[in-house]
Amino acid sequence: MKEEIKTAAEQEKTGLEPEISGAEALLRCLVEEGVDTIFGYPGGAIMPVYDKLLDYSDRLRHILTRHEQGAAHAAQAYAMVTGRPGVCFATSGPGATNLVTGIANAFLDSVPVVFITAQVTSGLIGTDAFQETDILGISMPVTKWNAQVKKAEDIPDAIARAFYIARSGRPGPVLVDISKDAQFAGLSYSYRNCTYIRSYNPVIQLQMRDIESAAVMINHAEKPLILAGHGVILSGASEELRALAEKGGIPVAATLLGLPAFPNNHRLFAGMLGMHGNYAPNILTNQADLIIAIGMRFDDRVTGNLKKYAPDARIIHIEIDKAEINKNVRVDLEINNDAREVLAALIPLVRQISREKWIREFRILDRVEYEKVISPETEPDEGEIRMGEVVKAVSDLTEGNAVIATDVGQHQMAVARYYRFSEKSTLVTSGGMGTMGFGLPASLGAASGNPGRPVIAFIGDGGFQMTVQELGTIMQYQIPVKIILLNNSFLGMVRQWQQMFFNGRYASTEMVNPDFMALAGAYGIQAHRVTQRGELRDAIVTMLAAEGPYLLETVISREANILPMVEPGASVSDVTLTYR
């Protein structure tokens, strides 16, 4: 790294600007990378950067969260709605360690976030100095790349690499740790975007032979099924996915993060895969003769028991990360490349076919699921309010076009199942990690990145209280998020498992909750509480029409379960519709 800086500096010697501080150089680099918003939290080691930030407030907006974890989730959500890397600042020691959950969350869901942590003065590194932690070592297993900078002149190159690595190939979080003395020291500033790293080759040559093989497999299949994952969205391949599905008459099932990749009201949409996914795609995975997996990684929540997964199917895996291919499921054809590139090349080779008989099999099972599960959940006319009807009402009123953030638990699955995502929608949720506490900070990050679109957060009463302090951030910046608190007074998802698999022994899952109206009031956030079905729709309409932030608490059925379910260890085709 050092050598390259030297040559770059030498080449540009004549064009060099006068010295600026490392802290200022960092901010200039961010401006060069097109950053306009930073989420973060200050502290001793990062004070030089914050000091300079005041001078850059016209170009860089800093949002002070109430906890570094909140800043990390917000930065991730910002990236998910804008399509540009999120940026997050934290100080050394506890500031840096508070980021770890957020970094890991971004890592598992392949979201580009550039984390900047401050480090103690370079002479003190390694001595257990005050607020020194080895954040490089701690973050190593959960970052795509990380580096420490101890000299001001190394800052521009490190930042350039950080952005290039974060957003290219399979995106992911990166971390740059900058010592305090490097922030203070001066350098002759010049910036060059990074476009090439010898040991890193995110762009792969397309092999037409593989594309042709895929086309032959698709054209000869009788029961093909597309599995669309987050990769479709990350590569911007939604249009191509739709074109492929329509031309080949192929049903499309989605993973949790892949839901907005394909219009959920399309006749070829088969529903969500996996543990709480839809009935038809789970059962028919095991009848398909060809699976075309695009930008997904066969997570265990999607596949259920691997030994009984897709026994009759040949599998084509289109995936940018080679290490994901043949990791969980053995595939017949691997296409290690960007989803959009592959689909664009594949579409012309696929024959126009309509597979009405195969599609009908989905419709028949959909009907069964509708009668047994969906209708009672979304259109009940008696009993307590159900999560599903709340989500469906919001889906109808926003026409599936909103930015939806969720926390983790039953309500997350209700959103995934009952919000009808369109290609214009965005789903900001914690998939791979299942991080409770993600929803509230993610919603404020999403709203900061996308002022034009409504942002609605569905959050459980448990997860809400994990990062509830972010109401302070929402208040301070008047971020217009609409928060729907689905209050069942339980850690609902864990309670469901206790009911189903631990003989109904409710160990530490029932909660005595605070007065959420008073809590919102303390933050000056408009709030309303609904307990009756009759008030629900109007309450949602009022919330959506309100200016500024809004909390709508809906008191829902305490002990409702999310169904269908592929029980742990079961095959996807053994998905159950009713609780025994």
Binding site: A79, M140, R167
Partner: protein, 186 residues
């Protein structure tokens, strides 16, 4: 079925890369039986040779995960038949023990070992060879009183013909001629 594999890999000479590699093996509970790290024939590029025992399926999974690391240039996985490998060992034995009987003669004739230093108290012996040969010599010397024994990790050369330089050139060429797809994240 478990089998011995030699993983050879080339990396940029950057801090922390060894940690990242061992993290991947640790997560899969794969023990590194030996490891050798040194500069490769190309200056600025490090070469690592690791010996692991695992299944064919698993070795390929971890190799792909290692190759994915930003600072790793190329990973090769070889079975023992595909490589020519050597280890080196040093033995410090008592002079009195080694001088008795026909030990010295057998040492040179049967074990093809070299003597590096002789003092009245001890003799230092060096041996290159396979793991088995080195262990065999240790057993042979045991009766003389072995004061110290040290062995290196494995170094290996492949029987295949394509060399690292060719890969590096390929990568640079690909970079120069590549067509850059528009990224969503930019």
């Amino acid at each position: 079925m478990q089998q011995e594999y030699t993983i050879s890999l080339f990396t940029e000479d950057h801090i922390g890369i060894l940690s990242r590699i061992t993290l991947i093996l640790t997560r899969r509970q794969i023990n590194i039986e030996s490891i050798t790290a040194s500069e490769s024939a190309v200056s600025g590029i490090q070469m690592l040779t690791m010996v692991v025992s695992t299944t064919p399926d698993m070795v390929n999974k971890v190799a792909r995960q290692i190759e994915k690391l930003v600072d790793v240039i190329k990973v090769f996985v070889h079975t023992n038949q595909e490589i020519i490998s050597q280890e080196i060992a040093l033995y410090k034995v008592t002079t009195r023990g080694l001088m008795s009987g026909s030990m010295i003669g057998d040492l040179v004739r049967l074990h093809h070992a070299r003597i590096l230093e002789v003092t009245p108290e001890y003799i230092v012996v060096e041996k290159n060879g396979s793991k088995e040969e080195i262990t065999g010599l240790l057993a042979f010397l045991e009766p003389c009183g072995v004061l110290q024994f040290v062995r290196s990790g494995r170094i290996a050369i492949t029987r295949q013909v394509k060399e690292l330089n060719a890969y590096l050139k390929e990568m640079d060429d690909a970079e120069r001629t590549r067509h850059v797809p528009s990224e969503v994240y930019n």
